[in-house]
Amino acid sequence: MAEPPLPAGPHVTPETVVRRERLTACRFVDDWAVVMVTRENRVYRFEGTGARIVSLAEDPVSLAGLCDAICREYDAPRERVETDVTGFVRDLLARKVLVIARPEREN
């Protein structure tokens, strides 16, 4: 059965700091991340870059920090990485896999 469409995730900026929701079960298998969002009673499997973002968000990390890591590890153009990572992070926020730790980086 198809997943019902989710509302768009919240607006994020490069300074937005995200982390994995505390009440998630998560393990990494091969190139996959398996995540159960406990209070939503949902299970997801992410692959490749998605799995890496879930891994990087185990501790609080800014969107810019995620993009830095993905650019470095995948040798991809910055502009495209920023578009993809922003969209993916918003989707993960909507699914409650990630939460916003801080709206903007503290100085």
């Binding site: 505390r22 079960a25 393990r27 298998v29 091969d30 996959w32 159960m36 406990t38 009673n41």
Partner: protein
């Protein structure tokens, strides 16, 4: 048509199952059954444990520090799903501490509990943990039947109140019935009650000897006539179609190199004293976490290695596996074989009995369905001898 019962969130998620299989195929376990205590506030008639309300082994249960170390080692092996059980899980003084510790380590958590110990108004504490499912037992459709079986007055009311509260909190509940000669006639009322509580359901008729070899608990088993009547009645209750009956009755060939279950490959069992077993029913200790690291036990224990490599080709009646419907269709549970016959490779007579009688009940149901006799049939007819 009766209401469909809830399903487990993990059962139908293909991506999850593929990841689990990949992990298991890499040689590591995906799930573990952690028995935190053998103490229990109930004394259910069918139970395989002998301890009851007080610890009788004279051995110390794992300390919180030992449990934390065990959880670290399980996480490092990549285990995703942990089932906390007992005895009664909630009688353990550190039950919530263990839930917090497992949550912090990123496990998905399931609890097996009689739900008759903790007051229902304390269950909201589970919302701050990774507990996604609670499984409990329902031994009757009413207080009299359930409490007589648990030998604990008030256990039915407390369990039902807890199930309602868990569902209100959004936590999945599966209710399990061990069908016995004392409750089988209540099948309809039990299934109606479970559906009204928006819970999942599983039933079994497989009652096995106690851990100490005692057979007093087998007294609750149904005889063939009762079992036949129950199985026929349950099909009638669910309105099982002829197509589904044929599918259930189809005797499939067994791949000789196939495994009976995931014991020692996908999962293992940890008892309250730190002993590791392939499964709760395979009471052959593989090693102690008080003496060895879990990784060492998992990869190097001779017990686990020998159970892990068992295939159908190893069974003592494997020659009958090719064409004997009785053997083909029955459970090959190595734990049941061990409890009953002292040999994991010798198929349990009780498993054969259950498969045979269930097969006859299906055949009678199908014949009545197709001849039009089902509509007027007694929901629980006398069995064909």
């Amino acid at each position: 048509m009766n209401r469909p019962l809830r399903r487990d969130v993990l059962e139908e998620n293909r991506g999850y199952l593929e990841a689990m299989n990949a992990h298991v195929n890499s040689g590591k376990p995906w799930m573990v059954n952690v028995e935190v205590t053998n103490r229990c506030n109930l004394s259910c008639g069918h139970c395989y444990l002998v301890e009851g309300r007080i610890e009788k082994s004279g051995r110390a249960e794992l300390s919180p520090e030992e449990m934390a170390s065990a959880l670290d080692q399980m996480r490092d092996l990549g285990i995703f799903l942990i089932t906390f059980t007992g005895g009664e899980f909630f009688v353990h003084q550190h039950a919530f501490r263990y839930l917090d510790e497992a949550t912090a380590r990123g496990f998905a958590i399931r609890i097996f509990s009689g739900l008759a110990f903790l007051p229902a108004d304390q269950l909201d504490r589970l919302l701050d943990t990774n507990v996604f499912q609670v499984e409990t037992s329902i031994h009757g459709a009413d207080e009299e039947t359930h409490d007589r079986f648990t030998r604990r007055p008030g256990s039915f009311d407390r369990m039902i109140a807890s199930v309602r509260e868990l569902r209100r909190l959004g936590i999945s509940v599966t209710m399990k019935t061990c069908w016995t000669k004392y409750n089988w006639r209540q099948y309809g009322a039990i299934l109606d009650l479970v559906a009204s509580l928006d819970a999942g359901f599983r039933g079994t008729c497989f009652i096995q000897p106690r851990n100490d070899g005692g057979k007093e608990n087998l007294e609750v088993r149904m005889n063939n006539e009762e079992l036949h009547a129950l199985m026929y009645a349950i099909h009638k209750y669910h309105g099982t179609s002829a197509e589904e009956i044929r599918r259930l009755s189809e005797v499939k060939g067994i791949e000789p190199q196939g495994h009976t279950c995931g014991a020692a490959r996908m999962s293992f069992h940890l008892n309250p004293y730190g002993d590791v077993f392939a499964c709760v029913d395979l009471q052959i200790p593989a090693g102690s976490l008080r003496e060895k690291a879990l990784e060492d036990i998992w990869f190097n224990s001779d017990v686990l290695k020998s159970i892990r490599k068992v295939t159908f080709a190893d069974f003592s009646e494997q020659d009958r596996l090719e064409d004997d419907p009785e053997i083909l269709s029955c459970s090959k549970c190595m734990g049941a074989n061990l409890r009953e016959k002292g040999d994991i490779l010798c198929v349990s007579e009780e498993a054969k009995r259950l498969a045979t009688v269930m097969g006859r009940a299906r055949a009678q149901y199908l014949a009545d369905l197709e001849s039009g006799a089902l509509a007027g049939a007694d929901p629980a007819p006398k069995a064909v001898p």
